[in-house]
């Protein structure tokens, strides 16, 4: 029953699992939905949706499926695959880029199909792996620096190219990169809690032995307060097109940070060129996958150490004017620079890491904004050296 509805939900980006679908079926078996469409709708809402931010998606699918209203979203969201290789570095000044891109795309597509054929024989081909739609781990978590996103109706794709989209894909999937050095640098980002705060929860063996001996072998247990790293880190990464050439570098930094489990808290958000009203939760910077920047400022207290990662180069109007946000439909009332100032005021320690080599900083397109931003935040090269210097800055009392 309604199986197409199930697939439609998935195709529109609601990651409904079979489990939940069976739950829904069970609920209907028990007559919980009554026999009305409204009842069914409420059932779907409470069983299939797990976040208030996804209610809207359900509503849209419901309208589409049950009243035949056309759904207006350019692309189906179920990804069939991120192709793994073929890094394409974007040359900002290259006007023929689009043509070249399209040529490369043909090539990519061809390889994609070849690989698909290959995969029939080998299922787990390491980083060759191609995800099959509709089954499992795919969706939003596939990542590679560059690749093709292929989407289509259902599982047997009529390949649709999604060109010109952001090419930072989700950072989270493991890639084999040497991130150890970055990680070692992050190790230094520690500030221990004083022995003053917290509960006594750790057994102090030395004291216990001492006290027990003192009382003539009568057991006396002594507890102590644990020492913990108190550093909370907020990582804000520019995921704009101009950052493309540095994506693998940023990726390494991200991995290092996320694998350093010694932070008390680590939050990562992405922005597009400059910070405006929203911070994205994934590097694709997709509309809707975001949180209010105000929310972040409100909820992450001033003790967070902030690391911005970005090239800080943009057209001056993007930074200084209202409406500078060049993403269509996201008019910003406050200029980007004001948003940056809010961070400046809110957080005590913050640095900006720039993947562009320092020697070019005052001699490139966008130096005006770079200069302005580096006056707000201490700016360092995104290199091991720069990171180490930056971390020192973050730790200064």
């Amino acid at each position: 029953m309604f199986l197409e509805f199930f697939y439609l939900l998935r195709a529109r980006g609601l990651s409904v699992s079979l489990n939940e679908w069976m739950m829904l079926v069970e609920a209907m078996d028990k007559g919980l939905g009554g026999s009305s469409l409204t009842g069914f709708y409420h059932l779907c809402k409470s069983i299939l949706v797990k976040s208030e931010s996804e209610y809207d998606k359900l509503d849209a699918v419901f309208a589409e499926y049950f009243s035949g209203i056309e759904f207006r979203e350019d692309l189906p969201e179920e990804f069939l695959k991120w192709l793994n290789e073929d890094v394409r570095v974007r040359d900002i000044n290259d006007k023929t880029m689009m043509d070249k891109f399209l040529l490369e795309l043909d090539e990519l597509l061809q390889r994609f199909h070849e690989r698909m054929a290959e995969q029939k024989e080998r299922h787990d081909g390491g980083n060759y792996w191609i995800g099959t739609g509709g089954t499992s781990t795919m969706g939003h978590s596939g990542y590679h620096e560059s690749g093709i996103r292929v989407g289509g109706e259902g599982r047997h794709k009529s390949a649709v190219q999604v060109a010109g989209e952001r090419h930072f894909s989700d950072f989270r999937q493991d890639t084999i990169l040497d991130i150890r050095q970055f990680q070692m640098a992050f190790r230094k980002l520690r500030q221990y809690s004083s022995r003053m705060e917290g509960d006594k929860t750790v057994l102090d063996i030395d004291k216990t032995i001492e006290e027990t001996s003192d009382s003539g072998g009568l057991l006396k247990i002594v507890y102590d307060k644990p020492r913990k790293n108190t550093v909370k880190l907020l990582l804000l990464i520019d995921s704009d097109g101009s950052m493309m050439p540095y994506s693998s570098l940023c990726n390494r930094l991200f991995q290092a940070a996320s694998k350093s489990n010694h932070f008390k808290d680590l939050k990562v958000y992405y922005f597009h060129n400059c910070i405006f009203d929203y911070l994205y939760t994934s590097p694709m910077c997709k509309r809707g996958d975001w949180v209010d920047t105000e929310w972040v400022l409100r909820n992450l207290d001033g003790e967070y150490k902030v690391i911005f990662v970005g090239d800080a180069t943009m057209a001056p109007f993007e930074l200084f004017r209202r409406g500078g946000n060049n993403v269509i439909g996201l008019f910003n009332e406050e200029p980007g620079i004001d948003w940056l100032r809010k961070f400046k005021r809110r957080y005590k320690k913050q640095i900006w890491l720039n993947p562009i080599e320092e020697q070019y900083w005052d001699n490139l397109y966008g130096r005006e904004t770079l200069l302005e931003i580096s006056e707000l935040f201490p700016m360092f090269e995104l290199t091991l050296d720069g990171l180490e210097k930056g971390i020192k800055k973050l730790l200064v009392k």
């Binding site: 739950m23 609920a27 919980l32 059932l43 409470s46 949706v49 976040s51 057991l219």
Partner: protein, 280 residues
């Protein structure tokens, strides 16, 4: 489904049709109900109301930042046992004596079905919900020390609340029925006020509500006042007998609505100038 086990809302708790549905679906499917919403929208009260209306005992497990999943199951008091063995007190040979059940454990062994509230699950460590998957699914756990399995005689009705401070893991979400309590609109708010205070003077309520929604409209506030704060404020206004005309203008007892000094300053500035930069 047994008519008895059908949640209808209670006299002191205003419940939307949708929420009622969600509760009943969760009861019928025996799945935990995850309730999200702004602080002060009555998430915790929902569990009380369910327990009351179904006439079942309520167990509350308040989660804190230091809470571990194990705390809810059982604790084995080694230290007490060691001490007892030194002083020759208690029955040291009987390990059972030193195993204390947590709230989840209590809910499992209760002879009748209970309502278990796991309050503010997002306060705990990120892994916390994952650590409870098996226990909430199977409604059983194993006590290592006594080699005993504690299994729920009657699957408790589990209500879980979250303030959305942290994202909850997918695997956990998949097992829950979800409902988001929206902030009540003015109409609903009136209903809630009536449920709590009966019929108040119309002018007082409307003035107070207007002031309240004006406050909520201020984006710059760090913590917006919520339903429970409005209710407290109304009762403060009533008791003090402030004249109705002054409510909107002077905002008496503002401390009841806004808990942070900074917010109060911001609010005053906004009311004077129409904007505020103090926040940042």
């Amino acid at each position: 489904m047994n008519k008895m086990d059908f949640f209808q809302g209670s006299e002191t708790y205003v419940v939307t049709e949708e929420l009622k549905n969600a509760v009943n679906v969760a009861i019928a499917l025996q799945k935990p109900l995850l309730i999200k919403g702004e602080p002060g929208t009555g998430k915790t009260m929902l569990a009380e109301s369910i327990a009351e209306s179904l006439n079942k005992p309520l167990l509350i497990w308040s989660v804190k930042s230091t809470t571990k999943a194990q705390d809810g199951l059982y604790l084995y008091d080694t230290v007490q046992r060691l001490y007892d063995s030194q002083f020759g007190e208690g029955n040291v040979a009987d390990i059972k004596h030193y195993v204390k059940l947590g709230k989840l454990g209590e809910a499992f062994v209760a002879p009748e079905q209970v309502v278990l509230l796991i309050d503010e699950i997002d306060k705990a460590d990120l892994e916390f919900p994952n650590d409870l998957l098996w226990e909430l699914d199977k409604m059983e756990f194993f006590i290592n020390e006594t080699k005993q399995t504690v299994k729920a005689a009657q699957r408790p009705i589990v209500i879980i609340t979250s303030n959305a401070e942290k994202e909850l893991p997918d695997a956990f979400l998949r097992r829950c029925i979800f409902h988001y309590i929206e902030f009540p609109d003015k109409e609903k708010m009136r209903e809630i006020i009536t449920v709590h205070y009966g019929d108040l003077e119309e002018k007082l309520v409307s003035e107070a509500m207007e002031a309240f929604y004006e406050l909520r409209g201020m984006r710059e506030l760090q913590k917006k006042p919520s339903t429970s704060e409005l209710l407290d404020w109304l009762s403060a206004l009533m008791i003090s007998g402030v004249s109705v005309e002054k409510i909107k203008q002077e905002m008496p007892y503002i401390g009841v609505l806004l808990k942070k000094n900074q917010d109060i300053e911001v609010m005053q500035e906004i009311r004077e100038k129409g904007y505020s930069l103090k926040r940042w």
